[in-house]
Subunit: 474 residues, 2 copies
């Protein structure tokens, strides 16, 4: 039976698109470069949103909403910022047939418009810290769009904070990165490398960009979340000042941070297999699908009754598959492709044994479980599956991380898509650029966890204090 | 003490803006015509979203997300539709400095892009009904923007459904209007007139538009939600067809429906008073504010302890007002302006009596309540307040609804902003336009609840079958 999925071995990029297609997660829109998030894909985003929103609110941030449109003049205020974003900006020049006096930009990110407003909101140290988050859509032109990973429009959350001191802002930027790391590892079950971006890779306008980098099954890196220490760069441009306790007027210290629908792309690529989507139970729209099996009307009635009873006993989002027009095989494959964590089969045989068959989507392991034990078993196995997806991904990440001091070996690792390469780097942008040009590998992060270790730059041989993580990236 | 609020009597429009300002709900953005929804205002929107989203999902609709950008050619496909929206459309003509081949429109509503996709998704009767909802931002140019009521960008939910039969679609359009009515009356505590729009007032491209019309405190009407029976208008243009059980290929029947952040505008105008915002308890971000009162450190400690204990005993969103830099009066006025439904005061006097004072925001009624009875009392009084806000608004609506057969009296009612006028109308667009021109009143709805009653058109005297609701509107 053709399941409509290219194998990873054969063509990893096509496999990714096939998994999205057969699971019904998203599709390309009639507008070039944009995507439609279909109900099943959007349900994953809603689960991400719900969990993350609660975690962000726990940090004291409050949700608000700022305009989609930014006057061109405002965006131009911070020089590095506009330089970074200008070429990707979608520009509104007219309303109906009438030309606008000043063009409006569809927000590529909201620092400028939000900080213009922060300057009005913040007067005194009593107004600080100001902690704001918004869930919004963002637009950046893309020449090589890719569902969930790079689309012209995407959905995200962006946090923006202002603080009285540098120390507080720095602490907040790191606190949020840690919140993201915890969320990505516990919910998406994706292990990440946390670290700092190099000067060339950081956010336009930031002092420091902190990042989370995950390894996909093809060995490439995917940046899953960033948190920026903005220092006083924007504060000085937008005049975000406050009267401090000591009677002095001072500029605030700021951070901004975000994760996007790209998380779903990471989720797909980290866990799925050649049979289709594999979802971590904590974010799966459905935890269980119950498939009754029957050969005649009498059996059908009995297994449906049992299936409904089992469904009722489980306090979970689930589906009972009762369609008559499909064979058991077709149903089985459909739910497998959709990555529902557990499949419960109930046929006449199981009925006779007062049991059901429970099958794990990730490992295919089957178990015959007594009816009265189903609820407890399901809860336990979902928890186990969540943890085992993470361990598996972590094992993969470790197996595909290499340490080398040889330029030849370095090039070989990168060329063969062998994952993350830990190598020494002198800290110069020139070497970084040269390495990128020659191998397509970029520095994904200067990892926090790395011990300081003296060595020589992998390219130029000049002294280096620490290894950094190189990889090809999405 | 100047509370920064103009009275309704003095200047209703200014009062509305003042209430929004002092409550911290929203403000004008640096982009002309756009608004910033501040955290307190956004918390109300989040409450609306949470409740309404659950109700919409109960009807079987699933959330999805479609692009913000619509190619100009797509929008032009339905003639009435483009005619209605073209002058308000924001047009993207370039990316960075590069001109786009085909301009993109920022969605003024999503019928066209969604139905272009429905045509791909729908093949057979088995794919029907297709029930989709999306929470999104929308842009329509506004010359006279007004916070929450008319802004260039606003937030809304838009539902889009496709059905096999006309009857089913018609039923869905009415089902959703009823869902909205129930939500608006039970949660926003605003009584509405449900009915049908006239030909001239209906949605561009619809067969019928159903509407909910609410009366504001100045007697003007505010349209709070609409549900459109689209018939096969869009289906024929976008080729949304299905193979029916009988083997015939047929066009689907469609509906679309939405409510927006305008609901918050209605909420403010329906209940608030000259002291500031009044919120229905079911949508208030905070149900209770506890204000400790003290004269010295010893008292402060005792009342804070008690305040915390009371707070802990209430399973509600609440605030305990502990700021030392403000007087009791200032705190009192601040929370009053923010419309928190209940204020609990705890001072040394109350402490001695093992009681607290509970004050209702809407009526100002005070009651001394024994500590152990606070939780039960609060729950009961919040429920009572929710209902009493609705009754009060309903009484106001009834008192300001007039039935007349005299053109002179009609003009007088409208001129004096006396609310809704029930009058006979011949059904001709010409009379409707003439009445609008002369009085500024429009037909808000042909109400469902109205009995058919023979009469003569208020303007031309020709036969009429039913009275319709005239009013000036926002």
């Amino acid at each position: 039976m053709d399941k409509g999925i290219t194998t990873r071995q054969k063509n990893y990029n096509q496999w990714y698109l096939d998994v999205i297609n057969v699971a019904g997660l998203a599709e390309h829109a009639p507008v070039k470069g944009c995507m439609i998030i279909k109900p099943y894909g959007f349900a994953i985003w809603e689960n991400i949103q719900k969990t993350l929103d609660a975690k962000i609110k726990e940090t004291g941030a409050k949700n608000a909403y700022f305009p989609l449109f930014i006057p061109q003049s405002l965006l131009k205020k911070e020089a590095q910022h506009i330089q970074g974003f200008a070429p990707e900006c979608l520009v509104i020049t007219q309303v109906g047939k009438k030309k606008l006096k000043e063009p409006l930009i569809v927000r590529p990110t909201s620092e400028t418009i939000i900080y213009e407003v922060f300057a009005k909101w913040i007067k005194s140290y009593r107004d600080l810290p100001l902690l704001i988050n918004q869930w919004a859509n963002i637009a950046r032109w893309e020449l090589r769009p890719r569902l969930f990973l790079r689309t012209i429009e995407f959905l995200w959350q962006e946090g923006h904070t202002a603080h009285a001191t540098e120390k507080e802002a720095e602490k907040k930027a790191r606190e949020i990165l840690e919140l993201y790391r915890n969320f990505v590892e516990s919910y998406l079950a994706i292990p990440v490398i946390a670290g700092e971006k190099t000067e060339s890779e950081k956010f336009p306008g930031a002092v420091t960009t902190y990042t989370l980098e995950a390894m996909m099954q093809d060995g490439k890196a995917l940046q899953l979340g960033t948190s920026h220490m903005l220092g006083q760069n924007f504060a000085k441009v937008f005049e975000v000042k406050f009267l401090d306790k000591d009677g002095q007027e001072k500029y605030v210290w700021q951070t901004s941070w975000g994760v996007s629908t790209r998380l779903i792309g990471g989720l797909i690529m980290a866990h799925s297999d050649d049979k289709g989507l594999v979802l971590p139970p904590k974010l799966a729209p459905l935890s269980v699908v119950i498939i009754p099996i029957w050969a005649n009307k009498k059996e059908q009635k009995a297994v449906f009754t049992k299936a409904d009873a089992i469904a009722k006993s489980l306090d979970l989002n689930l589906a009972v598959e009762k369609r008559e027009e499909l064979t058991f095989g077709a149903k089985h494959f459909e739910w497998e492709k959709k990555g529902v964590p557990l499949r419960i089969e109930i046929g006449p045989k199981e009925l006779a044994k007062k049991s059901v068959v429970i099958v794990r989507r990730d490992t295919g392991e089957k178990e015959l479980v007594k009816e009265e034990k189903v609820a407890v078993f399901v809860e336990k196995i979902l928890d186990k599956m969540q943890k085992s997806l993470f361990s598996k991904a972590l094992r993969f990440q470790k197996e595909n991380s290499h340490t080398t001091d040889s330029w030849k070996e370095f090039k070989d690792f990168i060329k063969k898509d062998r994952g993350f390469v830990y190598a020494h780097w002198c800290g110069k942008a020139l070497c970084e650029a040269e390495i990128k040009k020659e191998t397509k590998a970029t520095i994904r992060a200067i990892p926090f966890a790395q011990k300081s270790e003296k060595g020589k730059c992998i390219l130029c041989g000049k002294p280096s204090k620490q290894r950094v993580v190189f990889a090809k990236a999405y």
